[in-house]
Amino acid sequence: MNQNPYSPHTEADRTAMLERIGVRSVDELFNAIPRDARSPRLGIGAGMSEQEVQAHLEKLAAMNKTAGSGPFFIGGPIQRRYIPAAVPVLALRGDFLTAYTPYQPEVSQGTLQAVFEYQSLLAELLAMDVVNSSMYDGASATAEAALMAVRLTGRKKVVVSSDVDFTFRRTLRTYARGAELEIVDVPTDRLASSADGAASVIVQHPDAFGTLVDVRAIADAAHEVGALCVQVTEPHALALLEPPGALGVDIAVGEGQPLGIPMSYGGPHLGIFACRGALVRQMPGRIAGQTVDADGVRGFVNTLQTREQHIRREKATSNICTNEALAAIHAAVYLSLLGPEGLRAAARAGVARARALANRIAALPTCRIANDGAFFDRFTVRTEMGGWDLRLALLERGIQVEATASHYVDGKRRGRDDVIVQCTEMTSESDADALVDAVAEITGSRQAVAAR
């Protein structure tokens, strides 16, 4: 019996193979390795049967408290959304799951057409000319958008709104160390006036706190000084909000996880990346394109590959190789199933629930809604006790929310300490009741009312 349960070789096989090679033992194949470095002891313990491994993993999983196990309002770019049963059934078929990158298009049309359709579906949603086949996540897509704008303009300054999700800004800052870019964080209302000399202006709409932003004005101001406008967006919002392509945006990016992809504690997710047609030669990542085969039958290939690392090496538009094709297929299946009405319904549910919940919380004398304007499907709550402590107190009652205290980069703390409440179609009435009751109790609203 082999130690690796997936190894097919019998001892007789191994003997025959060694004989054919012309050596007596496998060790003879390792003569190029320094003798003292060969066959180290690793110290990682013995293997397990599948049954034991499964039980072990279940034990670990039981140490977590899943999002579905209680009222849950954490969100931002990664959202707990309803995933139709058909999404994993189709997208996780072994034919997709265990295929490689479609290097041989003749036997990869399933992947290539699905990715082409993903690009087309997202192009419809974003109203953008070109969508690539995926980046790692929304954060790296944002960073790559900034790098693309630097290549297009020859400028090294990036102006980013401090209301862009903190994880995106942190990744942007990290990526910027490579090309030694100057990153300037300003509040959204100062983006337009700070665009001078910038390669790009990066705005999020709806922003990290849910607030709706006048992107068109920012794009216009950017264009006036020769900068590009990059919009960070999220897919469900696009069902109801004017899309980047209609707002003068040059590059649109976002996290695609809400499109039928599990949260999985942060990945694998889906980096959405789209641009105007004129900019496609500077786009990072793979792109599927339509063509025909030798018999004139429609088919699909990876195209415009002269942008990519395996051809251009250090002159490539990005180093990306492995991407998130499987997540793109999830998104395509999800959008195919929901269609325009289903997507609108899911988006409206988040908006409607957020509005109703915010009204109830705003009615508590100890709380106010702290967004700078109209919001989409998440909002911020300001209290005397501060968001950080409120979050912990809620957690003790089994309610999970996020605090804005996390939202700073490189030690620059935002000047607010609120909680963020994300709603989706998964937010139930009883979740909402639980949150309102708990916030009222924790912040002393009842006493405040009684004292009046």
Partner: protein, 504 residues
């Protein structure tokens, strides 16, 4: 003969489009749709923000969608279905228990408190420890989403390391061998480095003299894949690393070929300062038709301060949290860290699969894996070496590179052979890489293909060599038994069609 099922082309007769399967936009009919989420009919959005652009998503029923993707799936070659001998891609079998294990962690948000994610942190912490032991390094970040992002992460760390020592300004160059993956120079360029290429010597090693000439006080580091992309173990690896270190540079280990070294040797014992692992190769996680992967980066002590944040901390009582102060607060300052390339623990769903694989195999299983991978490659090479030229002919590790230069003269190129192999029921090897081998066929069988399959694959390759000699035109005309025949890539690039055209 492949039977290809498809949905009827709706416009058959009206157009002359021939296709394997209609596009979604060709299946749509106004008014079709499912009922997957509760109907919510209104949402209060200020008019100036409301969508006025049409939302041209297709309208389909669930049965149509299921048929569509089922048909598409059936057009794919996959490792579930057959041998995938792509060199440097390590397309081994993807165990199913790994997928089920990962699904146990699907309903967790990365911004949850450490208090509600102790299982995640315990798994990740143990995975880090296991990777330390497997690679012989000291510390690990699980954050990078793929090998290329791991390269980029490491080079940013090199930059930070040199900055800390005060000579980042002068160290502007990264050296890569001419056999390197394209991601290596591309990652270096993204870090603002100039790239210098050094040639390989006659035995397929880095040319040590050329390397020494290229080294100097302006060099930040050297990127080395070992075994290299020829499948060969770098014979003077320690001298190479020493030379780079003497010049003040750091050595990056590209772990794309780590499968060969499992339990066989550890990069940390060979002189590397760091090495990444493609868990979607070495640790059996599925490649997902192009991704996701995960690219943990394992480093020696001296690089630790520069690792991405946050780091996992284990308390004496067996509980876990992040190093970023108490109560999940992110750090006030990230210190010398380069920041972060992804949230918290990167592609956790992929890492959970890798963890499951390592736990399943254990020490002995992993060691057997490395040895079997090398055994399989050497056996396969022995079966095909008479009919093809072998590039840099010495004992390979887990993969080897043939040259079809001889066959090209007969009229069948490496591309032709790769297409003809599809007709034989096998996926093609990696072709035209590494760049230093003309008409390269780079073959990696992995440890999970049975001897019978290796025999059949070798027989197919040998038959093709015979056909290249006797009837090269038939090879040139391949493939014929695949869902589509050769595709016109030139036309695709010349007039790009990158999304469907909605009927107006």
């Amino acid at each position: 003969m492949t039977v290809v099922k498809r949905q009827p082309m709706p416009d058959a007769g009206a157009t002359d489009v021939k296709a394997l399967e209609p596009l979604l936009i060709e299946l749509t009919r106004p008014g079709r749709g499912g009922r997957h989420v509760r109907a919510e009919t209104s949402a209060d959005i200020p008019p100036q923000f409301q969508r006025k652009a049409p939302l041209g998503l297709p309208e389909l029923t669930e049965p149509q969608v299921v048929r569509h993707y089922t048909h598409l799936a059936e057009l794919n070659y996959s490792v579930d279905g057959g041998m995938y001998p792509l060199g440097s891609c390590t397309m081994k079998y993807n165990p199913k228990v790994n997928d089920r294990a990962a699904s146990l962690f699907a309903d967790l948000h990365p911004r949850q408190s450490y208090r509600t994610t102790q299982g995640v942190l315990a798994l990740a912490y143990e995975l880090e420890q296991m990777l330390v032991k497997i690679t012989g390094m000291d510390f690990v970040t699980l954050q990078p989403a793929a090998g290329a992002q791991s390269e980029f992460t490491a080079l940013l760390m090199f930059k930070a390391y040199h900055a800390k020592r005060g000579d980042a300004k002068q160290r502007r160059r990264i050296i890569v061998p001419d056999s390197a993956h394209g991601t290596n120079p591309a990652s270096a360029a993204m870090c603002g480095y100039q790239v210098t290429t050094v040639k390989s010597d006659a035995r397929g090693n880095v040319d040590l003299e050329a390397l020494k000439t290229a080294l100097g006080p302006d060099v930040a580091g050297f990127m080395l894949t070992n075994p290299n992309t020829l499948g060969l173990f770098e014979e003077r690896v320690r001298e190479v690393c020493d030379a780079v270190h003497e010049a003040g540079g750091l050595v990056y280990g590209d772990g794309a070929n780590m499968n060969a070294l499992l339990g066989v040797a550890r990069p940390g014992d060979l002189g590397f300062d760091c090495v990444h692992i493609n868990v979607h190769k070495t640790f059996s996680t599925p490649h997902g038709a192009g991704g996701p992967g995960a690219g943990p980066l394992c480093v020696k002590k001296h690089l630790r301060p520069f690792l991405p944040k946050p780091w996992i901390v284990r308390e004496n009582d067996g509980t876990y949290h992040y190093d970023t102060a108490r109560e999940d607060r992110e750090p006030e300052s990230i210190g010398d860290s380069i920041g972060s390339v992804k949230q918290r623990l990167g592609n956790f769903g992929v890492l959970a699969r890798a963890y499951t694989y390592i736990k399943t195999l254990g020490e002995e299983g992993l060691t057997e894996t490395g040895r079997d991978a090398v055994l399989a490659a050497n056996y396969l090479l022995a079966l095909v070496r008479e009919k093809y030229d072998v590039a840099y002919d010495r004992t390979p590790m887990h993969e080897f590179v043939l040259s079809a230069a001889k066959q090209k003269k007969q009229g069948a190129t490496a591309l032709d052979l790769s297409k003809a192999l599809l007709d034989e029921g096998f996926h093609s090897p990696t072709v035209y890489f590494p760049l230093i081998v003309p008409e390269a066929l780079m073959i990696e069988p992995t440890e999970t293909e049975p001897k019978e399959t290796l025999d059949a694959f070798a027989a197919a390759l040998n038959r093709l060599a015979d056909r290249a000699a006797s009837d090269p035109t038939s090879v040139h005309d391949a493939p014929k038994n695949t869902p589509l025949r050769r595709l016109d890539e030139v036309a695709a690039a010349r007039s790009p069609k990158l999304k469907w055209q909605r009927p107006t």
